[in-house]
Amino acid sequence: MFDINHGNLDDSPDVGQEIVRRIHDRFGDFPARFQKADLVRLDVPQKDIIPVLSWLRTETPFVQLTHLTAVDWLEDGQFELMYLVTAPDLMVSLHLCVRLDRAKAEAESVFNLWLQAETYEQEINEMFGIHFPGSPRQGVPFILEGWRDMPPMRRDFDTVAYCDRTHPVRPGREHQDSRVYVGRKFGEKGYLK
């Protein structure tokens, strides 16, 4: 993939440094963290993520979407979407992280860039309640069936309370929650949270 301004990406000694420099030149000064030889993390604002991803997909060797997942930062009131884009021939991955507003959980779909994003977006839609307008399988149940509660992977979904409410246990069974047990045994230290 030859770039007229920068030369061939394959020839550069450190592909991670080089691709981050090009993204900075082109899109803006996003904070980058060089974690390993094959992994760079970039925190991208929401308005820039689709241009960056489509540029990576069409004009650089970063052609594979290895995964797409979400993290719920309940205390910040934000969701974080994590796109891992890989250059399989250069053996470098970019971890692009985007923060979304938790109250208005909506993000642009990357289905047009990668076909397999449809399944990832369907799962995130079901498990976190983040909506991807334009993605083909939004709202179609993927894993759960007949689910009436809030999306289960959100942090404020309490799975123990849900189990107590819905799934009866055998009489006489005691919950041995590790958190309670450690708290009882080690005092406050066990309640690190």
Binding site: D38, H67, M82, M91, W114, T119, I143, V182
Partner: protein, 394 residues
């Protein structure tokens, strides 16, 4: 000779009155559920098919029958309590996920430099043994879907001898929980290397006979050559890895491309084939069995006999890991498996996500391969893509 005319029989007019009368349904189209209760399905999943004759017009994969919410459960538990959980994410091959959990949290906590030499060798050993036993199982399952019973009986039995080695080493046949933070749980037992060597000899001795039954069998060739071809342009589009990719002739392997553990010191080649059909994928697996045996022999020779196998660990009940995020990957028998690990400075995992090859194989690739496929090839196709339902839905 007169042909029996069933249209004159009483009650025939009722047959044409389908429940969906009035809607626009193609009268020649039949809807069929393949699974979850079906002897030909892999694991517990289902494919909803629309057929015309025995040709599939389209289909949808349905998963979620095995969803246990592991990622949610791991957010509630201490770090050490996650080991019994991760090995159940992929039932057939637990060691890869164990390694991924251990290495991702070691990386975030800075413990990764502390893993002793012997611990790394032992991790490499169990991961390669695990790849070998799954590949054997899939080879047998592949011909089993075509109605041949002898090869599965042989390969499952050979796999079982490997499971005996696992039991001796780790204490468990299927779920090992052997890899832990900082190394592994136990050292080799005396004489383990000789017994494992004998098992490998036994497998190797049986391989030419398996070749005659599988790859050289005319029935198998007729059923698989040119069937279920994955187009090469999907490789980047859909993120295909593992034997499915290597059957296209693309030599990519996580063990070589993103070196981890002791793989850089080992001598192995990346097995490829051409054709990208079921036969090519089986050829790749057959070559990988021989290659895995070769790797395990090298490990047994090169492994140091003495030395610690696990680093000194902090108190697991109060251990906290600083905030951060990472992605680690390892080569499973199906392709690249990876963990996205996010921690927030507390004593639990903030978010973990398993990236498995089955996710793409069973949903995106399979659904796009279904139109035009013969229904008799569906089961063999699913096994050749090595779909593993518990890994898709976790």
């Amino acid at each position: 000779m007169s042909v029996f005319d069933y249209t004159t029989q009483p009650g025939f007019d009722l047959i044409s009155e389908t429940p969906n009368a009035g809607t626009t349904v193609d009268p020649k189209e039949v809807q069929l559920w393949f699974g979850p209760q079906h002897p030909g399905i892999t694991g517990n999943m289902s494919v909803q098919l629309w057929l015309e004759g025995d040709t599939i017009k389209r289909g949808i994969t349905h998963v979620g029958y095995l969803h246990r919410g592991f990622e949610k459960l791991m957010e509630r538990r201490k770090f050490i309590q996650s080991f019994p959980i991760v090995c159940r994410m992929c039932v057939a091959e637990p060691d890869t996920t164990e390694y991924l959990l251990a290495s991702s949290l070691e990386e975030l906590s800075g413990l990764d430099q502390a893993v002793p030499e012997k611990g790394q060798w032992l991790r490499t050993l169990v991961m390669e043994m695990s790849r070998l036993q799954v590949t054997l199982m899939v080879m047998g399952g592949q011909v089993g879907t075509m109605g041949m019973g002898t090869a599965p009986n042989w390969t499952y039995t050979l796999r079982d001898f490997l499971l005996d080695s696992f039991e001796e080493l780790t204490g468990g046949r299927v779920y090992h929980m052997y890899i832990t933070y900082g190394g592994v749980r136990r050292d080799l037992t005396p004489g383990f290397a000789q017994r494992l060597e004998a098992t490998l000899d036994r497998i190797e001795e049986r391989l030419p006979y398996l070749d005659d039954l599988i790859l050289n069998s005319a029935v198998f060739q007729q059923r698989t050559q040119g069937v279920s071809v994955v187009p090469a342009e999907w490789a980047d589009e859909l993120g295909i890895t593992g034997p499915v990719l290597r059957a296209m002739g693309v030599a990519r392997d996580t063990r070589r491309d993103y070196p981890y553990l002791k793989y850089p010191e080992l001598d192995f080649k990346v097995c490829t084939a051409t054709g990208s059909d079921i036969y090519a994928r089986t050829q790749v697996r057959r070559a990988e069995i021989a290659e895995s045996i070769h790797i395990i022999r090298q490990i047994l020779q090169m492994m140091p006999q003495e030395g610690p196998y696990c680093a000194k660990l902090p108190n697991m009940l109060t251990w906290t890991i600083p905030a951060g995020s990472t992605y680690v990957r390892a080569e499973s028998s199906r392709g690249e498996m990876g963990f996205v690990m996010v921690t927030d400075g507390s004593d639990t995992i903030r978010r973990v996500h398993l990236r498995g090859p089955s996710y793409t194989n069973a949903v995106t690739i399979l659904e796009r391969m279904l139109p035009g496929m013969n229904i008799a090839d569906l089961s063999a196709t699913m096994v050749s893509l090595q779909t593993c339902p518990p890994e898709i839905e976790r």
